[in-house]
């Protein structure tokens, strides 16, 4: 589906640009987007380096166990294929708790670390495992207690009370998360069922 969406967007865009008489924009658009992508990736180095350093400290000191105490039972249910005391589980718990607090930048390095640890246990390295899919489902739904950027932008545009959307945002992102977990569970059961039938 990624292939379909990616090819679709580019092919449709080129046809539409041609019909709109904007074909000269195509090359320009590609160059500026590609440059933007590299700038984003390079900009990640600083925050990645800092948080991976912090994570090493948290990992080596055992501090992680203080933070993630409450999330653990839920995470065990969500990721049955990941050992409870593994690096992968620790990184996922850090990712989920930082995301929840609206620290998106801090959450990304933990998430990538979690994927790398899960990949080490993956027997088919080009195919996503069940637990990877569940982890991505939770991340794409983005459960947030405080949508920090949106609140800042509301303040910038002159809102009387910039934080008054926190309640509605929480309810909406909670709904998205529950929906993601339910559909992911459905796919797990469905695939499991299919595999059993084939045997």
């Amino acid at each position: 589906m990624v292939n379909l969406l990616w090819a679709g967007m580019i092919l449709v865009a080129i046809i539409v640009a041609g019909l709109n008489g904007r074909s000269s924009l195509i090359t320009q658009s590609i160059f500026s987007s590609a440059e933007q992508a590299v700038v984003i990736a390079l900009g990640l180095i600083s925050i990645m380096a800092f948080w991976l350093g912090m994570m090493k400290i948290i990992e080596k000191s055992g501090f992680i166990h203080v933070i993630i105490f409450f999330l653990k039972p839920l995470a065990r249910w969500l990721f049955p294929g990941v050992p409870a005391e593994s690096k992968a589980m620790n990184a996922m718990l850090m990712n989920m708790s930082t995301n929840f607090l609206g620290m998106g930048n801090a959450a990304t390095p933990f998430g990538i670390k979690a994927m790398e640890e899960m990949q080490k246990m993956n027997t088919r390295p080009e195919t996503a495992t069940d637990d990877m899919c569940t982890f991505l489902a939770i991340n794409t739904a983005g459960l947030t207690l405080i949508p920090t950027t949106v609140v800042a932008l509301r303040a910038a545009t002159g809102a009387q009370n910039p934080t008054d959307i926190i309640g509605t945002t929480f309810i909406a992102s909670l709904s998205a998360t529950v929906a993601a977990i339910l559909l992911d569970r459905f796919f797990r059961l469905y695939n499991h069922h299919k595999k059993n039938e084939r045997r």
């Binding site: 590299v38 990736a41 390079l42 991976l52 501090f63 080009e126 996503a128 991340n139 926190i166 509605t168």
Partner: protein, 180 residues
């Protein structure tokens, strides 16, 4: 102190508190904190560079789709359908862009808040929509890209489904709470 103040304080203090407690705790337990920090930080560069091909591929496709005018046409085509479902036309570009590009969606949300007023129903609805879900395509590109996963199975379907639910609930709940 009301709930909103409390939440704002949590957001402001979460990062400093975590850094302080982590270093303090580790130091007390006799961990060589700086050496550990440097050891961990070394991985930052390689990790970021590994992302470049995935980001270039995705951001170029999205940019082309937007700059060619195709996004606009899609929006116009969907307009009658959305009117029956009860989605205001003004927030349609945001609903389409939200799963695709976080920074573009943020720009659209800002534009809606500026032109309609941040305290209007549309302004608050746009803000709620922006925070209701994360950027599915970006999350998939970054996390699967980092480890070289090419077969993403049902992850994209689940992500887009979550986006749809989050955005629809955002529109519905904003109407319920803010229209007076």
């Amino acid at each position: 102190m009301n709930l909103y103040d409390l939440l704002t304080n949590i957001s402001t203090w979460a990062v400093p508190c975590i850094i302080f407690s982590a270093i303090f705790y580790a130091y007390l337990r006799g961990i060589k904190v700086f050496e550990m920090f440097v050891e961990g930080a070394q991985e930052g560069f390689a990790m970021s560079v590994r992302l470049i091909p995935f980001l270039v591929g995705m951001i170029v496709a999205i940019g082309l789709f937007r700059d060619s005018g195709a996004l606009e046409i899609l929006g116009n085509a969907l307009a009658p359908l959305l009117r029956t479902v009860g989605i205001p036309l003004e927030v349609l570009p945001l609903a389409i862009m939200r799963p695709v590009s976080g920074s573009s969606a943020l720009a659209i949300a800002t534009e809606i808040m500026r032109s309609n007023g941040p305290d209007s129903l549309l302004g608050r609805m746009a803000a709620t929509m922006q925070g209701s879900t994360d950027t599915t395509l970006f999350v998939l590109a970054v996390y699967f890209g980092a480890v070289g996963i090419k077969k993403t199975r049902h992850a994209l379907t689940v992500g887009l489904f979550a986006d749809t639910v989050g955005i629809l609930v955002a529109i519905f709940i904003s109407r319920l709470v803010f229209s007076s």
